[in-house]
């Protein structure tokens, strides 16, 4: 699915990612943990194609394609999804309209006709219900005056409606209350199948109780310093980054 080799990235001359390797296969869930400022969000932006990042070295292969050559929207329509750490507000654009536009953009890219209005309404309703998002909410402008947690749930709604192949969740758990955390995790688990993959960025082992990862990676100063299975998250919880990085 995704194969990152020897990735070096800088922004405004500042080196952020310094030789990162990561390989994610179909059907796998990987968790990425690491201290503030270690380069997690930067990695998610580079994968989704945000500009101003300079790729100094390395390759990224996505399903046999050179990911770095694709435009942002091409990557998205090829099934790459980023649930943002800080989702954007878009004033004047109704949430439901935004969802419809996103879905139809993808269908257009795939050469399919627009989704029928009724079919769309049904899909949105059922997905929103699963996530406990009210229809009132969907009539409001996208993310405008949403609470922090509501914005995160909105990201997961978008994800479940677009059913991506490779989803990156950047600290989706931060800001969620206990119930929302469970609901969001169920949403992710429901989507999980043998054809898609997840990269879950988090600071808290608690999320990983709900979304059981196949692999856990620890990133420090732009490099993966340790990888392991779920037990690594538990070990981290106990020891903290400092000690773990030292034993690496």
């Amino acid at each position: 699915m995704l194969e990152i080799k020897n990735l070096h990235v800088s922004i405004e001359e500042k080196k952020i990612i310094k030789g990162l390797d990561l390989s994610i296969n179909k059907g796998e869930v990987h968790a990425l943990m690491g201290p503030n400022g270690s380069g997690k969000s930067t990695l998610s932006y580079v994968l989704s194609g945000k500009d101003k990042y300079e790729i100094n070295d390395g390759t990224i292969d996505y399903n046999g394609k050179n990911l770095l050559e694709l435009d942002v929207d091409e990557r998205a329509n090829e099934g790459l999804f980023l649930a943002f750490q800080y989702p954007m507000e878009i004033p004047g654009v109704q949430t439901s309209f935004f969802l419809k536009t996103a879905i139809n953009s993808k269908r257009k890219y795939l050469g399919q006709s627009e989704m029928d209005a009724l079919e769309f309404a049904k899909l949105m309703k059922s997905k929103a219900e699963e996530l406990n998002i009210s229809t009132e909410m969907l009539k409001r402008d996208l993310n405008v005056n949403y609470s922090g947690g509501e914005k995160k749930k909105q990201e997961i709604l978008q994800m479940s409606m677009l059913s991506p192949k490779m989803a990156i969740l950047d600290e989706t758990d931060s800001g969620l209350d206990i119930d929302a955390l469970r609901i969001v995790s169920e949403g992710v688990n429901k989507l999980r199948n043998s054809d898609n993959s997840f990269l879950v960025i988090t600071h808290y082992q608690r999320l990983l109780n709900y979304i059981k990862p196949d692999f856990v990676h620890i990133i420090a100063d732009g490099k993966i310093v340790k990888s392991g299975d779920y037990s690594l998250a538990l070990e981290l919880e106990e020891k903290g980054y400092e000690e773990i990085s030292q034993t690496a």
């Binding site: 954007m88 654009v93 890219y109």
Partner: protein, 485 residues
């Protein structure tokens, strides 16, 4: 490539091939020689079989025009207009002897309107919308006439109204925009050709949208629209005008005078979707759109609301205004003005508060891309008798790229200490992070810009009649789009 950079590039490659309405129609025309003089005015009047008083009114206006200087205040770069190098009248020959029914109209002309999405034939007519179609200097047809006249509503071309309702025309024509107001107003009064006339009788709520579709077809021909709308006591009407023209290398002039009168408790909602040919990306060709629109809230509790979506024209110069004479009367102005490539727009409104407790609201959204310039110019004038007057003004500008300009020029004059005036203004660049977010959800950069700009304009667009809101949203996106690729 940066999302904005890419969008700018696409916007810049926008050629005139993207203007959907750029075709022209082959018709035989009746057209007197070029030039502006008394003879041509007499010719126009004779062509229209006008009564003597109308001709005199025109000739007087021409005298006034000759004495007035050209307006200077707009922040526009207007090339000298050679009034002698322009045709003032052009009508398809087939329309000379007033066709009695649509069957007598040249099928080419009917086809033109069909192509523009305005079918005039009974079985295809737009439901809920009555249309007056103006082709160059003449009204082609007006739909739903019979149904409207059963309610006492008069909806016809102004040429027809001069003959059928002279008392109303004499009373109100020029009563809101005096002939001597400024040179374009005087010019229009001298040579106006066609436009719509609407009278809504006392107590009647017009059940359908009334609309006029203006089409410029003939070359080198100025279009001088004249529209007059009168809403009698306790009446209501919603009116919409649309405009398109063929692509030509020469500039063409559209100089309109539009007058609205609202009596006691009456309400007029006037919407414009202006999509005249803007010229090519080097600024060659396009319509000069010099428009004077003014509404008088004469009666108490009356209301006039202007909504405009201005996307076309090489130069737009218009300030739809409200004169709030009646106590408790209300004026509103909702505007979206988009300029791209070399387009220039100088638009805004005047709210003149005369009566007590009058209120006005101004929401203006200006979007500039390419090398375009966009100016909001407004005047809120509160006279000493206007006790307790209120105004709220909000002007937002959005810039796409580094070569365009946005300017806000709000004048406020208040001679009354009880009044309250609020003004808010913002200027911002299109937000990179919002664009990235939309693109991450699969929208290409053009669609992302279209979506964000439409969101920016929502407060205005939602005031358009529902039937047109969707079209207007598409137009907003298209006018900022380049050819995809």
């Amino acid at each position: 490539m940066a999302a904005t950079e890419q969008t700018i590039k696409q916007v810049n490659t926008l050629g005139n091939s993207d203007y959907k309405y750029g075709f022209s129609t082959e018709v035989d025309e009746i057209r007197p020689p070029k030039g502006l003089n008394e003879e041509i005015i007499k010719f126009i009047s004779a062509q229209k079989d006008e009564p003597e008083w109308m001709l005199e009114w025109r000739l007087n206006a021409f005298k006034v025009f000759n004495k007035l200087p050209k307006p200077q205040w707009a922040k526009l770069n207007i090339p000298e207009i050679d009034y002698q190098d322009c045709y003032y009248y052009s009508i398809p020959k087939s329309l000379k002897d007033k066709p009695k029914s649509l069957d007598e109209i040249d099928p080419e002309i009917l086809k033109t309107y069909e192509k523009l999405g305005i079918p005039l034939k009974e079985q295809k007519m737009l439901s809920g919308i009555a249309v007056d179609a103006v082709f160059d200097s003449v009204s082609v047809a007006t739909t739903y006439k019979k149904q409207l006249s059963d309610l006492g509503i008069v909806f016809c071309s102004i040429s027809e109204a001069v003959k059928t309702h002279p008392e109303l025309v004499k009373k109100y024509l020029g009563s809101v925009i005096p002939v001597s107001d400024h040179s374009f107003a005087a010019l229009n009064s001298a040579v106006f050709t066609d436009g719509s006339f609407i009278y809504i009788p006392e107590g009647v709520r017009c059940p359908v949208e009334l609309s006029t579709y203006f089409r410029i077809n003939a070359m080198n021909t100025g279009q001088f629209e004249r529209t007059l709308i009168i809403a009698d006591k306790d009446s209501y009407v919603s009116y919409l005008e649309g405009c398109t023209a063929p692509m030509r290398d020469e500039n063409q002039l559209h100089a309109a005078n539009v007058e609205l009168v609202a009596l006691d408790n009456a309400e007029i909602k006037y919407s414009t979707v202006q999509n005249w040919y803007p010229g090519d990306k080097e600024g060659k060709g396009g319509i000069y759109n010099f428009v004077t629109k003014r509404g008088a809230c004469r009666g108490k509790n009356s209301k006039i609301s202007w909504t405009q979506v201005e996307t076309g024209s090489a130069i737009t110069w218009k300030y739809p205004s409200c004169i709030l004479q009646g106590d408790n009367s209300k004026g509103e102005f909702y505007s979206v003005a988009i300029t791209n490539n070399m387009q220039q727009a100088d638009t805004g409104t005047k709210m003149i508060h005369i009566g007590k407790n009058t209120s006005s609201k101004i929401i203006s959204k200006g979007i500039s891309a390419g090398k375009a310039n966009n100016t909001y110019r407004g005047l809120v004038n509160i006279l000493s008798k206007a006790k307790n007057a209120r105004n709220f003004t909000q002007c937002d500008s959005l810039l796409i790229g580094n070569q365009c300009g946005a300017h806000t020029v709000p004048y406020i004059e208040s001679s009354n200490s009880d009044s309250m005036v609020e003004h808010e203004a913002t200027t911002s660049k299109i937000n990179e992070d919002q664009l990235f977010y939309c693109q991450q959800r699969g929208l290409n950069s053009e669609d992302a810009v279209g979506l964000i700009v439409n969101g920016f304009c929502k407060e205005v667009l939602q005031h358009l009649p529902m039937e047109f809101a969707v079209e207007a949203q598409k137009l907003v996106a298209i006018s900022l789009e380049g050819s995809v690729g």
